[in-house]
């Protein structure tokens, strides 16, 4: 960064200082540069980026957040946008690219307004007003309430989210996979969770917003017969994604109600398969977070024996301690034993003889999930309150069968029919590691979208439809404002058009013409009283054919929350950067 003459700043600080328009221009340029990087990856015809790090490791991705995270962005204002993408990724899981593009467009237009002599605070308040109006418009007009959400809608939403990704060509297959996976981990939501969903929708709310919120809540609640309807939650952490290269992406599969763990049998003598007995007693699984190696005394423990024969006893005891532990685990009925630590070769024989599958050095996180899935607990110690060692049969998880499966060159343990809370595993297959990583990211986005849909029960049309509608609406809204915020709101309205524009540009279509047509259709829909034109507000872009169509009917949909949140995040980020008019970088 160029250094303004320190004398002119009038401050004697050990560093550099930039003020006013200089810093604003710098910030906006940086933000635009960041947006330009991810711009081409937006939409169903967006392309991927290949990132190569210092060592030469390759990362191929289409996910905005991942691209930005991997780039070494140095400019502080640009960092705000990178964090913005990260935030969107955490909160919503999808739409990371669009949020960055909107924010940078808002900044660019904000900066132009400042150049025309409008004070940043006016711009900020204008942006806030526009945001509020936009959010309430989405909730009032754009949202489609789906009280009994059909699978079609879910699949469509998942398809929309994955259409831009590497798995976009096989959307039918993967959207089904994503929807089934999310549905399989359905759990009853607690009151706190429900409050959480509602809060997610509102946030910075005004009066109109609250109203719409409660309306949608009742709609979602459906017939309230003597109490609120049970709502569900879908913890994505219960969906386990395993990657194994080989085969083709179409051979990825979902193990419904099952769990796969990347571990193999500790000894070859163990069976490769155990299943429940005929009377339906489940296969019991013990999950341990402790060592089944020969017992050794802690550091610094000193035992003094007088009789040399005692040494022999100590040695024998060391072996017996582990043996007894294993005996207790086996007696408790475990038929599969998984541990995060090691298992002594010495002890294998007990397992082999009892026909038990034992796997060592499992991933601890995986075991915790498996414990949840099978209704068991991860046991860290066998000591009880009396100072003895016992193994509580309660800690054992249950399942229908466990099988060791060869995948590619390695082995995995598949646990079928878990008896606890829902759990599912998606095993991804693909040509190579880079592809699998990208499939994983894409699938994660879709899972998030499906989850949001199921939790909020509302959707909006995608493909630039919502943005175009908002743009037309905000233009009209601006004319009702008599203060100088009017101009700002108009700019905000124009800024939203960046999404349909970028979509069209990426598809190599005539962006100006398409967007103009889109806007005119939406204007007609909003200004007409005729019910025939009601559906016009769902018109969006068809990027393959290069025309406009009803995206709701075409099945290009997104969860409403995702749209609202991305608007909110983008606006907040733009405001944060616009407020800056002074930058001091201190020398270290």
């Amino acid at each position: 960064m160029s250094a303004p003459n320190p004398a002119s700043t009038g401050l004697f600080i050990n560093g550099q200082r930039e003020t006013g328009q200089d810093v604003r221009v710098g910030n906006v340029t940086a933000a635009l540069a960041v947006a330009n990087i991810v711009k081409t990856s937006l939409g169903p015809v967006g392309l991927d980026k290949m990132l190569v790090d210092d060592i030469g490791d390759v990362l191929i991705t289409n996910d905005g957040a991942t691209i930005l995270k991997s780039l070494e962005v140095e400019h502080p204002a640009a960092r705000v946008l990178v964090d913005l993408a990260k935030l969107q990724d955490q909160e919503v899981g999808d739409g990371t690219t669009s949020v960055v593009i909107i924010a940078s467009e808002l900044l660019r237009r904000g900066n132009d307004l400042v150049k025309n002599g409008i004070h940043p605070t006016t711009i900020i308040s204008g942006y806030r007003m526009a945001l509020k109006a936009a959010v309430s418009y989405i909730k009032k007009e754009m949202v489609v309430n789906v009280s009994e959400l059909g699978d079609d809608h879910l699949i469509n939403a998942a398809k929309t989210s994955m259409s831009s990704k590497i798995i976009g060509k096989e959307t039918d297959f993967f959207s089904r996979l994503a929807v089934d996976a999310v549905k399989s981990v359905k759990m009853n939501a607690t009151a706190a969770d429900v409050a959480g969903y509602d809060a997610m929708g509102s946030g910075g709310g005004g009066g109109a917003e609250r109203l719409a919120e409660s309306a949608s809540a009742t709609a979602a609640g459906g017939t309230t017969a003597g109490g609120t309807k049970q709502r569900y939650k879908y913890p994505l952490s219960a969906i386990h994604i395993l990657k194994a290269h080989g085969k083709s992406s179409m051979e990825s599969n979902l193990i419904d109600g099952g769990f796969a763990i990347n571990a193999m049998r500790a000894a070859q003598g163990m069976p490769t398969f155990v299943e429940m007995s005929m009377d339906g007693t489940p296969v019991k699984i013990a999950m341990l977070d402790m060592n089944l190696q020969r017992h050794r005394m802690g550091m610094g423990v000193q035992v003094i024996v007088k009789d040399p024969a005692e040494i022999e006893n100590i040695k024998r005891r060391e072996m017996d301690i582990t043996k007894e532990r294993i005996r207790k685990i086996i007696d408790a009925g475990a038929r599969v034993v998984l541990t995060t630590k090691g298992v002594d070769d010495l002890c294998m024989k007990y397992f082999v003889e009892a026909g038990i599958i034992c796997a060592r050095r499992c991933n601890r996180e995986d075991l915790k999930r498996l414990a949840k899935a099978t209704g068991g607990r991860v046991v860290t110690t066998m000591a009880d309150m009396e100072g003895n060692e016992t193994f509580d049969a309660e800690c054992l998880g249950g399942c229908d069968s466990v099988r060791e499966v060869r995948i590619g060159d390695g082995e995995m343990l598949y646990v079928y029919g878990c008896r606890g809370h829902g759990a599912s595993t998606i095993v991804l297959r693909g040509a190579n590691e880079y592809m699998l990583d990208e499939m994983d990211r894409a699938l994660h986005d879709s899972l998030c979208v499906v989850k949001r849909m199921l939790e909020s029960n509302t959707l909006v049309p995608g493909g630039g439809a919502a943005e175009a509608a908002l743009s037309v609406y905000l233009d009209d809204y601006a004319t009702t404002i008599e203060t100088r915020e009017q101009m700002v709101i108009q700019e905000y309205a124009d800024a939203l058009l960046v999404i349909p524009k970028t979509l069209a540009v990426n598809a190599a279509k005539d962006a100006s013409e398409l967007v103009a047509r889109l806007r005119s259709v939406h204007a007609k829909g909003q200004h007409s009283e005729d019910m025939v034109d009601y559906g016009l507000k769902f018109m969006g872009l068809d990027l393959i054919e290069g025309t406009i169509r009803d995206n709701l009917a075409a099945g290009v949909v997104e969860p409403a929350i995702s749209k609202i949140k991305s608007l909110r995040f983008a606006t907040e980020a733009a405001i944060t950067i616009l407020r800056i008019d002074d930058r001091i970088s201190l020398n270290k």
């Binding site: 940086a30 392309l47 290949m50 490791d57 995270k69 070494e72 992406s249 070769d345 010495l346 024989k349």
Partner: protein
């Protein structure tokens, strides 16, 4: 004060780390294609029966002589990220099916090369990708129609199959031996796995295999330099490179009782640290005596079961050897865990970890003959004539270590081919016949396709021809003439089928290229078949990876390390 953009006085605004380099747009796409072409060109000459070997020198000065695609690419150090991604393909192919590592690279490279005109003509990559995917689905369905099911126990058919796989390899002179060995080894280790019982209720499982064939663990290849390649053999049992611990022990036992241990037969201190302070002379003696008694006890416990052979993964002390020699027991020490597992499976023994827990059922009696043999300068223990061995050792003999290494790679490929057929007994014609059939089929189907993706769809068909083309090239016949003739044959079969059945029926045309002479032959008569799973996997991997690479429009070098 500057009011518009970064004015000249301000200097550039550095958003990214200045170390990073970007290539984007067309340049990136063309660069990627060029990289893929370069990788494919490296190994192009190793396809087919007339293939040549490559000699690779590693930085340490070691040499690798091979024509295995995966093996070559593993040794080549490439820097272009796309080239790296291509090399990964070959690895995935090797791990999944074990064969076709060369074809997958050549095919993927060709897919990208054929996409280049479209990229240059400004066709959107997503359109190309879509066309490629349609073509992939169509190609797979053509393969399904061409496939032929084989009986795994039909020895002649299986031989022909393996023949076509290792025909291209260095060891082709000893094909008969190699084929018999591969077949025998795989059928030995094949084991039925318990099937999921019906109590499950509709758990459809893609991976439920009826057969388990664990070549990695139970078919061990022992390479012994010296002798002739004709001396190679598959034992009906196992063998390992160890001598008996004591020269007085028996060196030949018929129907031995075998005990396997993974615990030491010597005095070992406990896990907890022990310090011994001795104040009394007597105590010292007691300690020594205890150690001896400990070993003696263990030996007595073992001897009580009257085994003829004791094998342990750990050490055997001199004292224990003495006891064993006295009890007429042959002992081996420091055997590898994997070897011990193999012995256990071949002889039916269970590995015991504590001597006080030995049971009669742990003793292995499945072995018919134990014998120590001296090959070259070393002693080897042979456990032969096993009853129903589910593990085996393959002995390879040959001139030098490099030759042996190459033979081992060939044999591994051959065994994997057999394994794939055991899993999925469907076959496709080799010698470029399948590829040509797919190519012709795609050309027919492509013309009916509407929209921009027709071009890329047809391009896939053309790309498939690279296999017969390369085969023709490598055996030195006129490439264009041969490939055109082959194409004509397939197209004619199509016409005929259409005339007779009015279309819709897929013609079975198995004409392909004899890779040695370069003549056109009917694969049905010539007997060159390849496993269905390998072919399918090759096509899938090639198209999918080509799609992935085509979708890239931006390459950033010097990004942060993956920090998740």
């Amino acid at each position: 004060m500057a009011s518009a953009g970064p004015s000249p006085g301000m200097g550039p605004i550095m958003v990214l780390n200045s170390k990073t380099q970007r290539t984007h747009g067309r340049q990136a796409q063309i660069g990627n294609i060029a990289a893929a072409r370069a990788v494919a060109d490296i190994i192009r000459s190793t396809l087919g029966p007339r293939s040549m070997l490559k000699m690779l020198l590693d930085p340490m000065g070691g040499i690798v002589i091979t024509n295995d695609g995966n093996c070559i690419l593993r040794e080549v150090d490439v820097s272009h990220p796309t080239a790296k991604s291509m090399i990964e393909l070959s690895r995935a192919q090797d791990e999944e099916v074990g064969d076709g590592t060369t074809s997958v690279i050549i095919l993927a490279g060709e897919m990208l090369i054929n996409a280049e005109p479209f990229v240059r003509a400004n066709v959107h990559p997503t359109v190309i990708v879509r066309g490629y995917n349609y073509a992939l689905q169509e190609a797979l369905s053509i393969c399904e129609k061409l496939a032929l099911t084989v009986d795994v126990h039909d020895a002649d058919r299986m031989k022909a199959l393996v023949q076509s796989c290792i025909g291209t390899k260095f060891s082709s002179r000893w094909n008969d031996i190699m084929i018999d060995m591969a077949l025998k080894a795989v059928l030995t280790v094949a084991r039925e796995t318990p099937t999921i019982s019906s109590t499950h209720g509709g758990v459809s499982d893609v991976y439920s295999q009826k057969m388990e064939v664990d070549i990695k663990r139970y078919a061990k290849v022992e390479k012994i330099p010296g002798g002739e390649i004709a001396d190679c053999a598959v034992l009906s049992g196992v063998m390992f490179n160890k001598d008996v611990t004591h020269s007085k022990m028996r060196r030949r036992i018929e129907n031995p009782r075998i005990l396997l241990l993974d615990s030491p037969l010597e005095y070992k201190k406990g896990e907890s640290q022990t310090n011994v302070e001795i104040t009394d002379e007597e105590d010292w003696n007691t300690l020594l005596k205890m150690e001896e008694e400990y070993v003696e006890n263990m030996c007595m416990e073992i001897i009580a079961f009257k085994p003829d052979i004791v094998i342990t993964e750990k050490g055997v002390s001199d004292l224990a050897q003495h006891y064993f020699a006295k009890a007429n027991i042959t002992a081996f020490r420091r055997l590898r865990k994997t070897d011990n597992n193999r012995v256990a499976r071949a002889t039916g023994a269970t590995i015991v970890s504590r001597t006080d827990e030995i049971r009669e059922s742990d003793i292995g009696t499945g072995c018919g003959l134990f014998e120590m043999r001296k090959i070259g300068e070393e002693y080897f223990a042979f456990f032969e004539q096993c009853k129903d061995p589910k593990a085996c050792t393959i002995i390879l003999r040959g001139g030098s270590k490099d030759v042996l290494n190459e033979i081992e790679r060939n044999l591994t490929d051959a065994m994997l081919v057999v394994r794939n057929v055991v899993f999925d007994p469907r076959l496709l014609p080799g010698g470029g016949a399948t590829e040509m059939a797919v190519s012709v089929g795609l050309r027919k189907a492509g013309l009916k396709l509407e929209g921009v993706q027709q071009g890329p769809f047809l391009a896939v068909g053309e790309a498939m021809e690279v296999i017969p083309r390369t085969l023709a090239q490598n055996c030195g016949v006129s490439v264009i003439r041969t490939v055109t003739q082959l194409r004509a044959k397939h197209a004619a079969a199509y016409e005929e089928a259409e005339k007779e059945n009015g279309g819709g029926v897929f013609p079975k045309c198995n004409w392909g290229l004899d890779g040695t002479t370069g003549k056109l032959v009917d694969m049905e008569e010539f007997g060159i078949w390849e496993p269905f799973s390998v072919k399918i996997q090759t096509i899938k991997t090639a198209v999918e990876s080509a799609c992935m690479i085509l979708r890239i429009d931006d390459i950033v070098f010097g990004s942060k390390k993956k920090g998740h």
